[in-house]
């Protein structure tokens, strides 16, 4: 039982990070019909912003993390939207998909050139210690990761549902033309969504890098996991992406412990296939119909 609880909490902590990234996928999809295939690299890069701030500016971890978050929002949110998405989206979704794939390669190679191909140590958020929960020694790091992820998602939900700005963003997502008629600055709302996505991936990066280490290839695993989580949960629902992320994190840990370590990487793909076959809109997603 103790190990089950350990695995559950550890899986939830990892899953919560997947959820943050998956939520970003769904936000971009809802507001601008953009699938960002560089999302994994978006999680990889902020860790290097933080490390570079510590190394070259001599900042402590928390100031560097704050600076890394700001740089991420500017580069992966504002600049990404202005320089890549805006000019290419006019030509359709497919050119944009290809552009994000190209951008992911650029980010990966840039991180490799700038910071070497080797993994880099990343400071832990808290000192290693245990907390006993139902007889199981649970790492405080897992609890802190889980706590920060829950706070972030909670804050985002409050922004979307509890504020005027959030409702304007939702209106933009549901029907940009009507939103525009109602006087909502649609373009600004979409830009804001990109910046929120950048903030989410930066937080995910700071949470996951102490465990995964900062490495230029990290985006491959994380991007795929978050993409699967978003599809499993429902690509058009934020809460679906959250559930998808948590399910994936827990299933990954449980399958490695109780089923087969060798096939742990395959199980999320089986779930993905099952969802696509039997519930294509995802666990919590709503079916979308297209008028002909």
């Amino acid at each position: 039982m103790a190990s089950f609880i350990q695995l559950l909490i550890s899986g939830l902590a990892t899953g919560a990070i997947y959820a943050l990234v998956a939520v970003g996928f769904t936000l971009l999809w809802q507001t601008s019909q953009t699938i960002n295939f560089a999302q994994g690299e978006f999680v990889m890069i902020p860790a290097f912003f933080v490390l570079a701030s510590m190394k070259y500016l001599g900042l402590g971890f928390w100031p560097a993390a704050t600076l890394g978050l700001i740089i991420s929002v500017l580069v992966l949110g504002l600049l990404f939207k202005r320089i890549i998405v805006d000019p290419i989206l006019k030509h359709g979704v497919l050119p944009l998909v290809i552009s994000t794939i190209a951008f992911s390669l650029f980010l990966k190679e840039a991180a490799k050139e700038f910071y070497s191909a080797q993994a880099q140590p990343f400071p832990p958020l808290v000192e290693a210690a245990d907390v006993t929960i139902f007889g199981a020694a649970v790492a405080t790091q897992s609890l802190v990761v889980l706590g920060i992820a829950i706070l972030t998602v909670g804050g985002l939900q409050y922004l979307l549902n509890g504020t005027r700005l959030g409702r304007a963003m939702q209106a933009t997502a549901q029907n940009p033309n009507v939103a525009r008629i109602l006087g909502i600055p649609v373009e600004r709302m979409i830009l804001l969504t990109f910046m929120i996505n950048a903030g989410l991936v930066a937080i995910a990066s700071i949470l996951i890098s102490p465990i995964y280490l900062a490495k230029f290839t990290n985006g491959e695993t994380l991007g795929l996991a978050a993409f699967i989580a978003a599809i499993v949960g429902g690509f058009n629902q934020v809460r679906g992406a959250i559930i998808g992320g948590l399910v994936l994190g827990v299933v990954d840990n449980m399958s490695a412990a109780y089923l087969s370590a060798q096939y742990r990487g395959a199980l999320p793909l089986f779930i993905l296939i099952a969802v696509i076959l039997f519930r294509p809109q995802g666990l919590l997603g709503r079916a979308e119909e297209r008028t002909v």
């Binding site: 550890s10 990892t14 465990i211 995964y212 280490l213 060798q262």
Partner: protein, 381 residues
């Protein structure tokens, strides 16, 4: 294109053609095919920098038999298929000896090419079977697992008095070879395998594996993986408060693992075939030169790459030329001592299979540094 430009280009091409044989006569081509990206980047970068340092020293001192060493460092991307293509590429340029790779899986795939071309290949790989496949052109500058595992097994039995051990290993050629050799040695010493935990190369989350190791209630956990995965495992073990002694072989105690794992590496013990912290004056001098040149502390792969180049120099001087076949013959039963070949750093011998025998060390990580506990003599002594 104007006539003048065309003439200039023709002249340049002519000069290049004329100068090629002269260049070949003045140099000896020793290419290095190595992991510079992918999961093997840590090992490969250390190996490459060791090779660079040795070649710079040798070239500055006049080269080998008056010839400057010419090299290139080709990235295998830690991918066996790409390593094979890179080996084929360098073989087309008539190398004297080929250096690398470090990953056992890559060596097993590409060593048939150097064997067919009858070109010696010096590798950093440790999988036991590499030198047991009857390939007379393959040589190591590191212990094969069949030599290192008995040493760690003796330590577990005699030093740690372990009755049961959990094994955590990486599911690649290196890991599988090590796991098989280790379990064989454990059985020979009546030590029970409490858990046999397979992990994947490039794996990032080790929570489930640490829980399994914890639940095994063994007297020790033997961790045998590549550098980054080792570091992630140690971090997770620390995170989950795993109290069982963590024992490893060379990579677990390497400089890079200590750097990546931070405090989580403290207390790790094991056998190391080579160490930059070994109490050997020549190695201490090498460590100083390497750190100054590359701005980081080398691990065992740096020493492997460095000694590989000096091994080539010693054999070329012994045979009096650059005949690859003569190199192969001279390697059988060769012993080099640092008194006569300083770059070899420690006395080393090569057997008929190309395996190396050398003194090695028992070590522990204390305050983020390797501390050598005991020097183990050469097996052949």
């Amino acid at each position: 294109m104007s006539l003048t430009k065309r003439r200039l280009m023709l002249a340049a091409c002519g000069l290049a053609l004329l100068s090629t044989p002269a260049l070949a006569q003045q140099t000896v081509y020793i290419p290095n095919v190595i992991e510079l990206s992918g999961p093997g980047a840590v090992s490969g970068t250390n190996w490459r920098d060791g090779v660079i340092l040795a070649m710079e020293e040798i070239n500055a001192a006049g080269g080998i038999l008056g010839r400057q060493i010419r090299t290139e460092h080709l990235d295998t991307q830690s991918n066996p298929g790409i390593s094979r293509a890179q080996i084929q590429k360098v073989l087309d340029n008539n190398p004297y000896v080929v250096l690398g790779p470090v990953f056992s899986g890559s060596v097993k795939v590409n060593m048939a090419l150097t064997q067919a071309a009858e070109i010696p290949q010096i590798v950093g790989a440790e999988a036991a079977e590499i030198t047991q496949l009857g390939n007379p052109w393959i040589y190591r500058t590191a212990f094969g697992q069949q030599f290192s595992m008995p040493k760690i097994a003796n330590y577990l039995r005699d030093g740690l008095k372990a009755k049961s051990v959990a094994v955590v290993w990486v599911n690649n050629d290196f890991g599988k070879g090590g796991r098989d050799s280790f379990i064989k040695e454990m059985k020979a010493r009546n030590i029970t395998i409490a858990a046999d935990i397979s992990t994947e190369q490039g794996q990032a989350d080790f929570a489930a594996d640490v829980v399994k190791a914890k639940n095994a209630n063994a007297d020790a956990v033997f961790v045998y993986s590549n550098e980054e995965e080792n570091a992630r495992f140690l971090r997770e073990a620390r995170k989950q408060g795993l109290k069982t002694p963590l024992i490893g072989e060379t990579t677990l105690l390497s400089q890079k693992v200590i750097e990546l794992a931070g405090d989580a590496a403290n207390g790790v013990r094991g056998h190391i075939g080579l160490s930059a912290d070994a109490p050997v004056p020549a190695i201490a001098e090498f460590k100083g030169k390497f750190s100054k040149r590359f701005n980081y502390v080398p691990d065992h792969n740096g020493i492997k790459g460095y000694t590989a180049v000096y091994l080539i120099k010693a054999v070329a001087e012994k045979t009096g030329g650059f005949d690859s076949k003569a190199f192969g013959k001279a390697m059988k039963g060769l012993t080099l001592k640092p008194e006569t070949t300083p770059g070899i750093l420690m006395e080393a011998s090569w057997d008929e299979n190309g395996d190396i025998d050398r003194a090695s060390f028992l070590a522990e990580v204390v305050d983020g540094k390797q501390k050598i506990i005991e020097i183990l003599p050469k097996l052949g002594k």
